[in-house]
Amino acid sequence: MKNAVGRDIPDLLLQDGRSVFRGSNFMDGCIYTKPGPTVRAAVKPQASKVLENIRTAINRCGLKNGMTVSFHHHFRDGDYIVNMVMREIEAMGIGDITIAASSLGDAHDPVAAMIERGVVTGIQTSGIRGKIGDAVSNGSLKNIAILRSHGGRVRAIERGEVHIDVAFIGAPTSDEYGNARGKGGKSDCGVLSYSVADARYADHVVVITDTLVPFPNLPPSIDGVDVDYVVVVDEIGDPARIASQALRVTQDPRDLMMAENCARVMASTPYFKDGFSFQSGAGGPSLAVNRFLESMMVERGIKMQWALGGITKPTVDLLNKGLINCVVDTQDFDAAAVCSVHNHPRHYEISTSQYANPMNKGAFVNKLDFVVLAALEIDVDFNVNVVTGSDGVLRGAPGGHPDAASGAKCTIIVTPLVRGRIPTVCDRVVTVTTPGESIDVLVTDYGIAVNPARQDLVSAITSAGIPITAVEVLKERAYSIVGVPDDVEFGDRVVAVMEARDGTLLDVVRQVKKFE
């Protein structure tokens, strides 16, 4: 059955209450009951939650074949927790496990072999890269992988679409009662936003730390009332890969030109006024937008009320210069962001549900004026792909892209027209991760296009003297440089589904076919 972005969803997938994507706001007003976890009372005042090792914790939680375990990705490429826990699970002879992670990356390559061995048979994640991406795309995973945005993941947990049996939460610091924080210790990651829903909705919660601190560890990101056990290990991650020391701001003139044009587009809209709100992605040109915004804000004498999202140094700098009133944080990408969330009184940590769950009643993304994001591909219907490469293999992350794009009043994609030989602007993206109805403006190095659904933005931008063109013209320009690409060929088997934020099916990813 065709969905609202024109993708054919196989009928076989449309069971157990699953339906096709019908538009971003289709589920408005839908009634649902939140599930409650089945938990074990910890009544004895003198009992200890601290266990000697991970194996004992897995035993005590009663982890069995076929269960679901969860992880967060605040340690990014420096994460040791997923591999540490999964190795122990495999060594104990447990298999048929579903991993429900907020994201998986190159650090988790060993999981690919566990997929081949049947230890891991299900993957639910917001990011999939490296060898895991290859394994899933090659059809090695027994069950169909589920890809969700950050907000969509929390929705799935809070609506009971995924039930977590055991949540393993790596924490930079914890006290012996499981009050855990992103602050301090050897592997300081700033915040633990992605784990909040896991702690509240999993049957069993295990905090794993390398730095046990005196009770009480306040204020906790993960509340001890939800935690069954605490395990102390030597190292939970590689600090150098958790928070980059200094994320280099691009010096590439092409990136800077696009960033400046993006800032000019923002400044031409009615939303660019005192008290506006903003989120930017962590890609080169998106980050550089902050630099150009600064001078435009100073020039107009206006300030930003709040900045949202994964936080980096450029945002922290604007906060410290008094150009942003407050920063609302779900992830820290560099040392400056980690330091700021611990020390600045108006830099706040929120949960991922607060950030972006489309089915709660107060997601911050809905209050955004602007978001600036990147894209691997964007097509003439403004649909964006950020999850499959040009060869059809899974190697990306929807992350918060669909969430912020859907919530913001003005969503801008900044991307070069071509990357190497790959056209970024194309006829039809390989996989739709963010529907075109959420995208308002496309800024490339060869011109700016505005979604025809936003005639208000067309007049605002052209009135400011900024030339715009049609997205089809940009696509033709790209094809004239690199040639018209052949369609990527896939096998028949569906290996992953891309859920829309509301849980309906936006697209499917099929097994790759070797090119001959």
Partner: protein, 99 residues
């Protein structure tokens, strides 16, 4: 043109292609690996074979390791490899064999 010895042109840098050509016992043997194989493999093959035809090369083993080069780059690398291999000593015949 006659392929007399093994010759190479191009690099393995991004957006370039490395072309290696050597004599064969008759006919064209074509081997390609490319970072954009799925979307442009067919097109690269056509450009390489077309370029060889223009140069009147009828017998060669040609190997292309492509890193996302544009057609014009691939064509230039193939032409260069052929000229090197054939021991061509005169000026490059622009607008003649090299179109």
């Amino acid at each position: 043109m006659e392929i007399k010895s093994e010759a190479t042109a191009g690099t393995l840098e991004s957006s370039d292609a490395q072309v290696t050509i050597e004599p064969s016992d008759g006919g064209i043997y074509f081997e390609l690996s490319s970072s954009v194989m799925n979307q442009y493999g067919r097109q690269i093959r056509n450009v390489v074979l077309e370029t060889l035809k223009n140069l009147e090369v009828e017998s060669a083993k040609i190997k292309v390791v492509d890193r996302g080069a544009l057609d014009s780059t691939i064509k230039a690398r193939v032409e260069c490899a052929v000229f090197r291999s054939s021991g061509w000593e005169g000026a490059i015949p622009w607008r003649g064999l090299v179109k």
